[in-house]
């Protein structure tokens, strides 16, 4: 083990800020992160062991306990659940004699749930040792259990299981015919930095991650900030439940992204860039690295690009399973090897970013569009969309639609138009910003997708008339409990209180009091939380409660207060120990518990 670890540490020049990448390599070599390995990494990097543990323990995809030769994680987004993922996971656990989240006694396999993996248009899906398996069915679960029991290596599993489709259903500027390599760079270099900034300003380009900040303002602030060096970071950590457009852009339009990052580097004066790729998209990693190498060989990346004396290179950093790293300052912390906890702002990354230097962090789509703007001009871009939202938006449409997939639409289209195109016009509700934004009812489908009206990062999840929207709120509450970074009190504890309240309602023990409590958490977390995660974690739930009160009222046990504590359920352990399940072993009032326990 020592030689392996030393080689890994050397490969990363023993730099502590590369800790997340080092831990990935160690886990690839050893299957998990044993304490001795963490101690060796601490010694090698010069960081205290406790700090190395802090990083290793923070990320969902790092295992500080053995997790088996086969690590299966079912995507647990609401769209996967609607497609039957919970039943499939239970089936696999049954066949492998496993409890979810626990390693099998022979150390062979563990099965667990994980936050949305960005394959919602071809779910239910799972990751096995980091590789995506899409379109899961009960038959596939049967076969998979057999393959795991027989220890068949993943490379010998049916190849079609690992096929990830790029389902592009509508194309406008970005997903239209790709631009020939080099064209964007030649145009940008002829404009020069100020010329590029001018075009970006004229274009009115705003960030596509959801917040809609002016790209020109961000780039200009970075360029003007004092610093020894500058960095361009591409945020490819799209963790918002229901979003998968960056996966498709990386897979189908990677050259457009590289072009855009080069344009950004030229504009702000950077020579180093990073792509922060979410761990769920690891299956893309080798292909993307290969393409970067090809571009370097072709003089389209790296030293002296196109022979014009412009140096800019890109490195891909792999995330490790943390939604919070989509927040730009948390992403930078992660790039520096630390747990992804958002920084105190100001100062903002444009002045104090990666390694304390001026840094721009932009979404994949924003950067790819910036490249096109450098080529075709700001006026051209401004001619598309609405006055405050120029250009197009790439939407990830999933859920109850006939044609789930990627739709690139000009800003200003109505939700109804998108639903008609995707085959989901009978929807009762749509979430327009994943778990972190509003939920629109059918009466609002004439609203427009643009920053003036419905701002979206691109996650459009559609809920048909047959769905119980309570399940959506319940799923979101657990998502945020799992993904809160834990830094600030309101979000760390509030997301847990919320998840417990929704559990209580789901268990049929809710009362109006609990609905008030959920609202109380909403009012506390909005405003008091440290970052966008806590500030938005209750928005969809509150919206669902406002617009679909009946779905919550149905879950209430009484019109008065009901304690979460269930006296009869508390006796279940005693009943189990004594082997009793007769009426005399139950409190009279609780028929439901009797029925539950009577089931095998």
């Amino acid at each position: 083990m020592t030689a392996t670890l030393e080689a890994i540490l050397d490969r990363h020049a023993r730099q502590a800020h590369r800790l997340v990448q080092i831990l990935h390599d160690v886990q690839d070599a050893l299957g998990w992160l044993p304490p001795e390995a963490l101690a060796a990494v601490a010694r090698g990097t010069g960081w205290p062991l406790a700090r190395v543990q802090g990083t290793a323990n923070f990320y969902s995809f790092f295992h500080t306990q053995p997790a088996g030769e086969y690590r299966v994680r079912f995507s647990d987004n609401i769209t996967d659940r609607m497609a039957g993922s919970a039943e499939l996971m239970a089936q696999l656990c049954r066949q492998l004699w496993l409890e979810p989240g626990k390693l099998s006694e022979d150390g062979l396999v563990s099965v667990d749930a994980t936050s949305c993996t960005g394959l919602c248009d071809q779910g239910p899906d799972l990751l096995v040792n980091g590789r995506a398996v899409t379109r899961m069915t009960p038959q596939r679960v049967d076969e998979m259990a057999g393959l795991i029991r027989e220890r068949v290596p993943l490379d010998a599993w049916p190849a079609d299981w690992f096929v990830v489709e790029d389902r592009i259903c509508r194309r406008e500027l970005l997903l239209d015919d790709p631009v020939a390599p080099g064209k964007v760079l030649r145009a940008a270099l002829s404009h020069g930095a100020e010329g590029v900034l001018g075009e970006i300003l004229r274009s009115g380009l705003r960030g596509r991650g959801g917040a809609g900040f002016s790209t020109h303002a961000k780039w200009r602030a970075c360029r003007d900030a004092p610093g020894q060096t500058r960095y361009v970071v591409c945020n490819a950590d799209e963790g918002e439940p229901g979003t998968f457009k960056d996966r498709v852009l990386l897979s189908s339009r990677f050259d457009a992204l590289i072009d855009g990052m080069c344009v950004a580097a030229l504009a702000v004066g950077a020579s180093q860039g990073f792509i922060y790729l979410r761990a769920e998209y690891r299956f893309l990693l080798e292909r993307l690295r290969r393409r970067l190498s090809q571009r370097r060989a072709a003089g389209l990346l790296g030293r002296n690009i196109l022979g014009k004396g412009f140096d800019f290179d890109i490195e891909i950093h792999l995330g490790a399973g943390a939604y919070i790293c989509g927040e730009e300052s948390a992403l930078i912390e992660s790039l520096e090897g630390k747990p992804g906890k958002p920084r105190i702002r100001p100062p903002f990354p444009v002045t104090h970013g990666y390694m304390g230097q001026p840094t721009i962090v932009n979404n994949v789509e924003t950067l790819a569009l910036a490249g096109l703007i450098a080529l075709r001009g700001g006026e051209w871009f401004r001619g598309i969309g609405t006055p405050a939202s120029s250009g197009t938006k790439v939407l990830s449409v999933s859920g109850d639609v006939a044609r789930p997939g990627i739709y690139e639409v000009p800003f200003g289209v109505t939700l109804a138009e998108v639903l008609a195109e995707a085959g989901g016009s009978d929807a009762q509700a749509v979430t327009t910003a994943g778990a972190a934004g509003p939920c629109l009812a059918a009466s609002e489908f004439d609203r427009r997708i643009c920053f003036e009206d419905v701002a979206t990062g691109g996650s459009i999840m559609v809920f048909g008339p047959q769905r119980d929207l309570f399940d959506v709120a319940h799923n979101f509450a657990h998502f945020f409990q799992h993904e809160s970074c834990g830094f600030c009190t309101p979000c760390r504890v509030g997301t847990s209180v919320n998840a417990r309240l929704l559990d209580k309602l789901a268990n049929g023990r809710g009362s109006p009091y609990d609905l008030d409590e959920i609202r109380r958490m909403h009012h506390l977390m909005q405003g008091a939380s440290h970052c966008g995660l806590g500030n938005t974690a209750t928005v969809a739930i509150a919206d669902l409660m406002d617009k679909f009160p009946a779905t919550f009222q149905r879950r209430l046990a009484t019109p008065d207060y009901e304690p979460a504590f269930d006296l009869d359920a508390a006796l279940s352990q005693a009943r189990q120990l004594t082997g009793r399940s007769d009426a005399g072993a139950h409190l009279q009032s609780n028929q439901a518990a009797m029925a539950r326990e009577a089931r095998p």
Binding site: A50, H482, C485, G486, C488, T489, V497, A528
Partner: protein, 243 residues
Amino acid sequence: MTGQATFELDGQPVPFEPGQTLMQAAKAAGHYIPHLCWHPDFTAHGSCKLCTVKVGGRFATACTTAAIEGLVVDNRTEELDDKRRTLLQLLFVEGNHFCPACEKSGDCVLQATAYEMGMLTPHFDHFFPDRPVDASHPEVLLDFNRCILCELCVRASHEVDGKDVFALAGRGVKSHLVVNSASGRLADSNFAASDRAASVCPVGVILRKRVGFATPIGQRTYDVHPISQVDVDAQATPDGKQP
């Protein structure tokens, strides 16, 4: 016109020096802004959110917001104290805080702040986490049940002691304090009872052994005076320690 720059805190002018935060300036001028993770001797952390104030109508943490001439800041309003009360209740149910049996009772910043805010019950269902104590060190006990994740010990050990004995690990509600040693035990770390980190805990996690209840309950710091008074009176004791 010359004269010192000021901002307005609950309607009163508060003078400040350039570079001061709202918290620093308020404390220097004798105004109490509730806080748990902030301490005058250490870098601001901004995580407990007790010092949430309203600046020009927007929420902000007083410990991380720079004082600017003419700012209008709300502090002890019913709305903000109500939020603070809820935050305190969340902290009380997240850990295992049983004041009557705690050696820190009366000297505890969490307890004293809860009294100050008029918190009468924990309100929410208790989480009852399982957090074993670490009694390995001959002079100091670690009772993690009371940890509020303020990271004051982490900062003290790093910034003053230069040791990095403590760090936070885990995520979300599973966040927890860890000790920097191969075994994870305090006795196996290079911690010393004379460290600044040994005396900085605002709650009852880091406790000196064999001095328990030396001061009887009823005569302790916040038994005698409310924290709103102690906090602004205590312009740092000679060794820089706050009670």
